[in-house]
Symmetry: C3
Subunit: 388 residues, 3 copies
Amino acid sequence: MAVVRDVPAPQDVRRSGLERWPRYAAAARGLRNYWYPVMWSRDLGRKPVARGLCGERIVLIRDGGTAYALDNACPHRGVPLSVGLQEFPGTLTCRYHGWTFCLQSGVLKAALTDGPNSPICGKVRVKTYPVAERAGLIWVYVGDEPAPPVEADIPRELLEPGTVVVGRISIQRGNWRYAAENGFDEGHAQMLHRYGAVYTAFRRLPAYRETKVVADPDGYLSRVTQLSAEEAEYPGLGKWPRQRPWQRSGKGHRVSIRLPGFIRVKAAHQAHAYWVWWTPIDERRYRMLQFYSAPVSGFDEVKFRLHYLLYRKPFHHIQFNNQDARMVALTPDSAPERLYRPDASITAWRKLCEQARGAPPPAESLDETLAALAEPLAEEANAASGQR
Amino acid sequence: MAVVRDVPAPQDVRRSGLERWPRYAAAARGLRNYWYPVMWSRDLGRKPVARGLCGERIVLIRDGGTAYALDNACPHRGVPLSVGLQEFPGTLTCRYHGWTFCLQSGVLKAALTDGPNSPICGKVRVKTYPVAERAGLIWVYVGDEPAPPVEADIPRELLEPGTVVVGRISIQRGNWRYAAENGFDEGHAQMLHRYGAVYTAFRRLPAYRETKVVADPDGYLSRVTQLSAEEAEYPGLGKWPRQRPWQRSGKGHRVSIRLPGFIRVKAAHQAHAYWVWWTPIDERRYRMLQFYSAPVSGFDEVKFRLHYLLYRKPFHHIQFNNQDARMVALTPDSAPERLYRPDASITAWRKLCEQARGAPPPAESLDETLAALAEPLAEEANAASGQR
Amino acid sequence: MAVVRDVPAPQDVRRSGLERWPRYAAAARGLRNYWYPVMWSRDLGRKPVARGLCGERIVLIRDGGTAYALDNACPHRGVPLSVGLQEFPGTLTCRYHGWTFCLQSGVLKAALTDGPNSPICGKVRVKTYPVAERAGLIWVYVGDEPAPPVEADIPRELLEPGTVVVGRISIQRGNWRYAAENGFDEGHAQMLHRYGAVYTAFRRLPAYRETKVVADPDGYLSRVTQLSAEEAEYPGLGKWPRQRPWQRSGKGHRVSIRLPGFIRVKAAHQAHAYWVWWTPIDERRYRMLQFYSAPVSGFDEVKFRLHYLLYRKPFHHIQFNNQDARMVALTPDSAPERLYRPDASITAWRKLCEQARGAPPPAESLDETLAALAEPLAEEANAASGQR
C-alpha cells in the first residue's frame, strides 16, 4: 500500500474576486499582444526546444545565427516539431515522416519521404511567431495584432550597450497573476521574508510601510514608501516585530511593475537593478525569469558575476524567491479573496491590466485610474482612524 | 519511455447500491454533527498542523496548553494557515501577509503588515471548530448543529481514569464507508485474513459463522455469534478450509460498531479492548485510527506497551489490518453491489446511519430497526434451507 | 518546491480527421468481435492475472491445464477477482469474502463465508470470455456476437506445427489506432528509423518509396513497393539523404496488415516472419505484442532463439520499435490531421476497418474498396506531376 498524503485536491482556476477587472480575469493564460522572454540566447542552438507561452506550444531553433519560433505541432499528425531535427539549412524537419518546414515562412518545403515531387509541398504552413534576441535573451511575441518592435516591451536599461545581465530561469506552479501580484504586493515582504532566509538574516525589515502607487515613465507603476515603521505596538497583542540587534535597516529601493507582467527593483544609489518576469506557460504554470543587470565591464563585471553566483543566486533568487513561489503555488484559485489596505498596489496593477494592448479603448487614462484609486484608499484610511 | 502499468482508471464515488439508505448515500464525506479523533495529543504543539475532516480543511495548534482548530484558509488570499506561525500568544499568524487571528474566536486581531491601525481588524473572522482532548487524542467536532459534550462521542472505557491507550494513526485510500463496513462485516475475516498474516497463522479461523446483530448499550450495534463452524462440506466442491494441526481456535470476542463510524472489539474474559475509527478526510481518503486500550499501570503497563509495540502493532495493526485497507482501496464506487446473507451486519449499520444526528426524525427506533431487520434475514435463511 | 516540467496537458481522445471512417472513429477502444492475444501461455498458472482488453477488465487463470477468462470484478462488492485465489479445482475464489465462481460457467458455486447452504449460490454469475491457446499465446475473444473459431483470427503461419514463436509483450501509451497506422504507414520508416537505432546503422534506407496497396489472401492488405529511390534532389533544398558508404541496401520485405490490428512482415527469400499486434487496453494504452516466427527445430531453433535474444530483441523489438512507440505516444488525439500521398496505406487500412465484423453490411467489397482507393491516388499523382 503506497503512502497517501493529506493534500488538498487540485483547484479550479477561476478566482471569484476578479469581477471588477474583466480583462484581467480573462487573462488566466496571460496578456496577449506582448513580447515575452522565454529562454537564454546561449541555450538555443540547432537542437529544437519546446516552450509553452500563454497556452500556446512553441518550438524554437537557431539557424545561421538567427532564432526562429514555430507552432510546435506538425500539421500532418500533430507530433511535436521539437523532437524533430534539421536536415537542411533554413528548415526544420519533423522526425516522424520528414515534413520539412521553412523556418522563416513556416511553409512546407518538402515531405522527404514522399520524394521530390510530393504534391503537398507549398500547400501546408505552420504558424510562425515573431522572435528577437536582446540582452542575451530570446523574446517571443504572442498575439493577434501585428507585433510592435521588441524594444517596446524591453526595459531601456537592459537594452543599453555594456549592460550585463545574469539570472535564473525556472518553471513554477501556480497562475502567473498571483506571481505578478506577489511581486508588486506591498504587504507580504515584511512577514513572509522575515524568517528562514539568509538574504534577510542581517536586514531589519520594518513592521509595516505606508506606500502610494504612482505612475512612472515607460509605463511603470511604482510603489513609493511614505512611511516605514521599524516597530509597532499592536492593540491587545504587543510590540512587533522582535528586534534583532545584529540587523541593520535596508536601503530603500523602488519596486515598479509593467505590462505584460514584470517588475524592476532599483535603489537610487545603486547602478544594478533586479528584474522578474512571470511568463505564463498556461493557467497553472509560469516561467519565472529572474535577472540582475548592471552597466559593468572588466574587473567589475567579474565581481558582479561572482557576487551573483555566490550570493545573490543561492540566497536571493533561489532561497528568498522560493518563499514567494511557494505562496503563489499555495494560493488557491477557487477561494474568494478579501483585500486589505496594502493591496492598493495589487488593485492598481489590475487596473493597469485593463488597459493592456488589444483591449477595448480604456474608459480612463492611467492617471485617472490612479487618481480614482487614491480616493477609496483615503476613505478607508479615514474609516480606519475613526474606528480605532 | 516510462513504464505504464495495466491499472484501472480512477472510479466514480457514487455507488449504485445505496439507494435504500439515502442519508448514508449522501455521507460520502462522513456523517456531520459528530466529534472525531484526528491526531495524538502529544503530536500537537506550537507548530500548526493541517487535517482534512469530512471534506473540510482544518488547522490545529496548541497554545498555552489548549488545542484550537480553525478553518485552514486565510480569508485574505486563501493560503493555508497551517504554514503560518505564532507571533503572539493566543493567535495564529498567516505566513504570507501576517494576518493574525484569535485562536479562540477566529477574529482578525491584527494585519501586522498594515500597521496597528489597520481598518480591517475585527472585520474578518475565520471559522473555528470545537476541539477537545481526551484519552491522549485530539477530538474535533464538525457539523452544523451545536456540539454536544465530547464525551457523547467517546467510548466510556477510554474516558475511565487509569486507562492506557496505544495505537497507530495512518491515512488510507478509499471511502470511509467501505472501511467501516469492512470493520463490522461478518463475512470477510474467515477468508481475507486466513492467508498471509502472522496474526492468524496460529489461529483456527472458522469456515463460517452465523451471527445476529443486536443493539448494545451506549448506541452500539454488536454481532453475536450464534454458530461457528470450523469446517464445512460445500456441495460440489468439498471440505473447507484445510485444517492446520498447529492452529488453535480463537477465543470469542464481540465486535460492536457505533456512530459516526468506529468499532470496539472486546473479549468477555479480557480487560483490554481494540478500537478503530475511520475518520473521513474526503470522499476518497480516510484516517484510520487504531487503538488498544487497557486499565493498566506499573509493570502491567510496561508489559502492555511492549506487547503492543513488538507484537500487536506490527502484526495486527499493520500487517493484518493492511489486508482490510487493501480491500477497501480496491472496492470500486461505481460498481453495483450484490449483498449476501452475512451482509445483514452491514445493512444494520446502514440503517443505524439513517438515524444519525442532524437527520430528519427517524421513522422507527433502533429496536424497531433491528426487529424489522431480523425478519427478512429469517426469511432468507428459510428460503436458503428450502433451496438446498 | 518540486520540479515542474514544461509538458503538454493530457489530450482528448477524439481526433477530428476520422469522420470519413465512422466505425473506425468509434473504435477508440478497439474493434470488438475479434480474438486478441493478451499474454504468453507460459506466464499463466494458478495465480490469476488481470488484463485490460478493449476497455473491459478481465481476469485470467489456468486450471487443470486449461485457461479461463472472467470479468475481473466480484459481483458482491466489485473487488477484482485477480487478487483472488483458488480454493477448489475448477473455481476462482474472491479474496475478500470467499465467493467462489465456476471457471467454466462463471456461476457462483459457493459463498464460503456463508456456509454450505448459502442461499445466494447459483443465483449470481460473472461474465466469462472465450479463451484459447495457440502458438504459445493466450487468445481472448471480446465481442457481442458469438465467437468464431480462434483460428479465424490467427495467422496460418503461426498455427503450423513446428513453428517457433519468440517475442516481447509490453504496455505502451497512446491509442492503438495510431500504433496500427504507424505499423502499416509507408512513409515514416525512411525518416524516423534513419537515426539513433543500431538496427538501421548498416542498412541503407531509401529516401522514399512508391508503393501500392493490394489485397492479399487471408484478409491482409499489403504494401507493394513500386519504386525505391536511394537518393533524391529536393527542389530548393538539395540531395537527401546523406549517403553513408558503410551502409548496404536492405532486402525487400512485404508489410501486410489484417483485422483487428496486426501486421506481418515477411521477405520472399526468408523463412521467418515478424509480427506485431496492438491489442487495445483502453483509449489511451495498448499492449504491444511483437513476435518472430520461424519453422525451425534442433540446432536451427537454438540459433533462431539466440539470434532473437542477442540481436533482434534488443535492437529491433526494443530500440527500433520504441522509436515507433514514442511517436504514437506523441501523436495527440485532439489535433486535426493532414494526410499526404504515402498515407494511402493508412486510408486503405481505415477503409478495411469499416468492414470489420459486427459492422453494418459493407457497401462495397474489399476489392472495390482498393479499386476505389486507387483512383484518387492516381489523380493525386497526376496532379502532383502536373504541379512540379
